[in-house]
Amino acid sequence: MGSLRQGTLTAVLRNVPILMFAGTFVVFGLLTPRFLEYQSLENIAKQASYIGIIAVGETVVLLTAGIDLSVGSNMYVSAVAAGLLMERFAISPLPALLVCLTVGLLFGLFNAFAVTRLHIIPFVVTLATQFAGRGLGWMLSKSRAVTFPQSVTGLGAAELLGIPAPVVIFAVVVLLAWVVLTRTTLGRQIYAVGHGLEAARKAGVDTRRVQATAYIICGVLASLGGFVSVAQLGNVNSGFGQMVEFQAIAAAVLGGASLFGGIGNVFPGTVLGALLIQMVWAGLVATRTDLYLQPLIAAAIIFLAVLLDSVRNTVLARLGRHNIRVEE
């Protein structure tokens, strides 16, 4: 019954992200039953929502075989822009959100322009915009903290049918991204571009447009994620969004996205990845782990997930090789 065992192995390997997620959940649940209460789960979802939104955008860029290291600076600049306008002109949250998204859009547009028109590799482009964006944000804010009024924090605490607003926004973003990626021509072209830029061009795909769209989506979602985060925190300090790019990439990769493009999905992949990261932090807090040990354990768990993912790829490739020719 070798084939049965092999089948099980394949099934297990294919679902590594889900299993990691479930495993972590169970372990923390056993350690502290309080972890399993609805309140704590709701908190995890709520805290995961902003990083999740950004990770969705990052996933789209990763799918095109690109990378966006500027999302952290992007969310900082756009949040600062919105916050300053609210401070000075006392505009209401909705126009502020629009300003925030517009700044994110411009950010994405610039990245898109540099990648598709100037032909600079995405890593360098977004590294540079990360530098410059952070500087721009500091310039705008004079590097002091920007505080947001009640009207915005109220949004962060609002609920829709008993579900926290951030989670609702996250869900909507995921749904839209899922529809775009699986149910539109653009989505399929994003996968095709990630699979091979030249091949996609030869197949008649407008590769520049597809790449550009990915960076723009990522830019807008980064600013949206920033706004959602602001709505929960109430202020933006000068370190806001730092290292977020790495968390977003980690979430996407934990969800099965490849850094080389063409492989990955937003649902369930990236959603699980974002929740997993947040769950680890929440679990460490719930189990009263030493504050200094928390990052170590979190890093170890992420390492394990990445390791399992690469083991999975190696094993699946080997199984695939053996299936080249079915004997007898």
């Binding site: 540099a114 540079a128 500087g135 500091w138 310039m139 790495f246 200094y292 928390q294 990052p295």
Partner: protein, 387 residues
Amino acid sequence: MDRPSGDRPVQSSGNVTSQTRIARLKEVVIGRALLSDSFVLYLSVAYFVVLWVFLPRLGSARNLSNLSSNIWPLLVLVIGQMFVLIVGGIDLSQTSIMAITSVCGALMITSGLDPELFAANPLWGVFVGEQGGPAGGSVAAAPVGIAFMLAIGTLIGSANGLAVARLKMPPFMVTLVSMFFFSGLAICITRSENVRNLPDAFLAIGQNYLGRVPTARGSVGLVPYSFFAALALAVAAWFVLARTILGRWLYAVGMNRRAATVSGVPTDRVIVWAYAVSGFCAALGSVLYSSRLGAGRPTLGENVLLDIIGAAVIGGISLFGGKGKVRWAFYGVLFFVLLDSSLYMLNLKFYTVNIVKGVVILVAALLDVLRNRIRLGWAPTGRAVTA
């Protein structure tokens, strides 16, 4: 669309007007400079000279001394990063290696710790105590500490390399996780406190100079000790890359790992070597920075990662692997440090400096794209041409 320039032969020499000849000369000069290996060096010199005219202070002894003491530690880090970039990887963990080695080395050789700050340390009473670390107060403290730091750095680098080569994990993720882990660890074992009371011999490395130059306001150092460390490393790195079998293997693995494997290159070992070198260099950089700072700091190198990668990119080291020279690393660092200090001297705000740095990285990358274009005779791959 732009037409090819530079290397194209003139179609017919008979009817070339003087005007086109001048235009062509211009093309050749610009093309040559752009294509030159030392392009970034020329750029740095030109930048320095132009700015010097407007800002004489730039050329002052004090500033030059300052400049040079900023260049060498960064060069050490970039050389390490270059080894990893050559094999087609990336090392994001260099900064955390700096932090952990800084802390470990300092704990090893410190001659006294404040019990109020460090009593909660898990190592308290076992390895370290009020009288300092195991090697604290010893005559050989400095060499022992340095050796210890270099060993830890190399070890962590090798571990990264093993994960990349043997476990086939993506370098970006491996070193990212390792960055989180070791910077967390550095903070954990010191509870965010700096480790002070380091021996003078250790501090001398980062703070002392060979020879002094008198100026109006006291004397300034001429050649920092860190220069010798960086020079030794640079020569060794050059030798390995240009003169040894390992060097050839490093480039081969970066250009085409599969072809290298088939050709008998021990690819896994080569990759581990590259990451180990990067770890070693990070530790050496940590020695220089820590001694300049006079303390073991758990957040050492926090903001250096972007400088490292920025300098490497400006120098022309490819992120796709297979390309990189020690010279290029030096040029990149030179330009980056020059830019940094000149921007501060222009009294620009720190945020403007950040913005300018970002733009410069972009421009450098753009020039690189341009250079490749010229070199390839503007072969129109990937560009649709509308007739």
